[in-house]
Symmetry: C2
Subunit: 397 residues, 2 copies
């Protein structure tokens, strides 16, 4: 497997566009289109938030048959908490996209991200879809990725290729993030494409597995959005067919793209100055490891300590203690980088210079060993800075 | 029931002291003693954190028989993550206190709050206990309350009295808080006294009920500490005996003292500029109401919005949506003060001046009506300001 340039249009047989249609007052790109040259298999995972936005409900319905040929995403307006009218607007988006592309509206995945509770400006949306449909390019992935940004400060793309029995298979993706919900923005969103052929059920189970290791292993602020969606489209344009038994290389590629996109979301976390990788090992189960790791990653006290560049291991062991994971207080070890600070639940004499170097770096690694079993999990988070408060306090509805 | 002056020494038959013994580098009071003139019934609720500090383990053991006559609390050092040596230090604190007061060490409740992971300076602790034992006064509750402060900015006391079949019964208490764990400080701690006689089992069940409505209905930062403890001591000095069947007035008084202390903790939340009361009504169950209310209260996005004085109802409905409470998105109503902003999950035309006045005040009330049943819960939280980050980032271990 090797990294290649680009994002959703890196695999064969895809075109994309990103245009500005005036949903964002800034005039920035706000309408993103991705189209497969041929009908494709597709799978998605959606937010579990019970206030899920209208396009989430519609896209679930459209993907029930495992088929999709295009994805339309607008930024600047989440079409969330907009009632029946919002659902009709989502249907209209699919219809307009389908008509512009000559595709059945049921094969369109619709997504929206932006301000909650404001009706969609459908005249602008419709014009944007038509404009985007006229500007589809085989190298349009970058524009499409730019057009899904809200409070993001940079474009998030990743792509890889690997050899599959002599055929080059590519997997590419784009994502947006920033806060789990940024300033009234409903947020985490990713689209992954591949030119392998994968049956819908297998594609779904592989996506669920990849998400567990990537998008479900990151946290910025612990808030779960109304609009989260990760969708993967597999059009088979490379001629390679992934099936049960030969799927390992594809799973690895899908994992890699999802993990890199997830990490980019954390690096662009609102106000983030640090990127923190947390490994919990030695847990009684993998589930316990994940619970402990996420408790650390979500703790405001841990995150503010990293912003302050303080090796505040007490906050880490306290988070482990309330995580609901099985913990024996007399066994817990904590490492910053390679340096052990806590052994068997007690602080040990450690090299302050080495620990200081670890926490002053932009990228920080923390490891907790519970010494109870073989359960392990890795998650990523960012620190919690003045700017997080500033970004989220100063945004006005 | 009426409010009266004072705290833990407001009821009859108690003496207390607060002295400085040098655990805190500042020279502030750091050793608190509370003694009942006679042996008393007692009950407590402890942190569920699996990294619970040594004194938590010891006090659980000492309270197993429902008896206690004194409470000794030091601030400045949490005696947490200190291993076997820390447990021996907690035992030593009980022994020294017992010897100084002429009480069996098993009738002493021991608590510590402060920095995690540092061995207790036992020479200072022992001297402090002896000094405190020599300075016990019937009006010493205020000094005792001052001596348990860590990052708290003001003393937290409350007391009430009520008529019980012609006998005046008093309930008083003190608490400390600030952050759930402040800068490496292990935190939430409260002691309540009464001169009623209450059997240990009844006292425990009434304490659990009171805590559910008070200390378990507040949140500052969602972090659960290693040292949390709420203890109630009932010495019967008033001559009144509370038993099953006549307990309503006592429960009301206990609730009132616990709720007022809990509110004081929120008002002194680290960096807090706003005090926010959140009512969730119409939930399918009381448990669902509590889950939804706590999800709102713990959301960083909600809390930063309040700091920014922004009526960001989208963040409130999103928190309700991910709270795990049963929710019908098409039924949710949201009120700021008396003003309805959201009806049936959609924003409605509201009076911006009225909503502006609500969110610009120091005390803010928010109500969410899920319109599914009769479940209700009330919780309190504070906003999330620059100073929270500053306090928690700039503290160095």
């Amino acid at each position: 497997m090797k990294e290649i340039k680009g994002g959703v249009t890196a695999p064969q047989g895809y075109k994309a566009s990103g245009v500005a249609c005036g949903i964002k007052q800034s005039g920035n790109l706000d309408m993103s289109l991705l189209v497969s040259d041929t009908p494709a298999n597709a799978a998605a995972v959606f937010t579990t938030n019970k206030m899920a936005a209208a396009p989430v409900h519609l896209s679930k319905k459209h993907l029930a048959d495992g088929q999709a040929q295009a994805v339309v995403i607008n930024s600047g307006n989440a079409n969330a908490c907009t009632g029946d009218g919002g659902y009709e607007d989502a249907i209209k988006m699919a219809q307009v996209t389908g008509a512009a592309l000559g595709i059945d509206a049921h094969d369109i995945v619709v997504s929206s991200t932006g301000i909650i509770g404001v009706p969609m400006p459908m005249d602008k949306v419709e014009a944007g879809i038509k404009d985007g449909a006229a500007k589809l390019y085989a190298d349009g992935g970058g524009c499409a990725a730019e057009a899904i940004m809200t409070t993001d400060t940079f474009v998030k793309e990743h792509a890889v290729s690997f050899d599959f029995d002599g055929i080059e298979v590519k997997v590419g993706g784009m994502a947006k993030g920033s806060g789990m919900i940024a300033p009234n923005m409903a947020t985490m969103l990713a689209v992954v494409t591949t030119d392998a052929a994968v049956a819908p059920e297998l594609l779904k189970s592989m996506l669920v597995s990849a998400i567990d290791k990537s998008f479900n292993s990151i946290t910025v602020d612990g808030d779960t959005s109304t609009n989260d969606m990760v969708v993967v489209v597999a059009n088979g344009a490379s001629g390679a067919e992934v099936t049960t038994g030969n799927e390992a290389a594809f799973q690895a590629a899908l994992d890699k793209v999802c993990i890199e996109l997830a990490k980019l979301i954390v690096r662009d976390g609102e106000g983030a100055t640090k990127f923190i990788e947390i490994d919990v090992v030695g847990a009684a189960s993998a589930g316990d490891a994940k619970k402990a790791a996420m408790a650390i990653a979500n703790s405001n006290l841990v995150k503010t300590a990293f912003f302050g560049q303080d090796p505040n291991w007490g906050r880490i062991v306290a988070a482990v203690g309330y995580s609901s994971a099985e913990v024996d207080a007399s066994k817990v070890d904590v490492y910053y980088g390679e340096e052990k600070l806590v052994e068997n639940g007690r602080v040990v004499a450690y090299d302050e210079a080495k620990v200081g170097a670890v926490i002053q770096a932009k990228d920080i690694k923390v490891k907790v060993d519970l010494k109870l079993g073989s359960g392990a999990a890795r998650v990523w988070t960012c620190d919690f800075s003045y700017d997080y408060v500033k970004i989220n306090a100063e945004y006005h509805t």
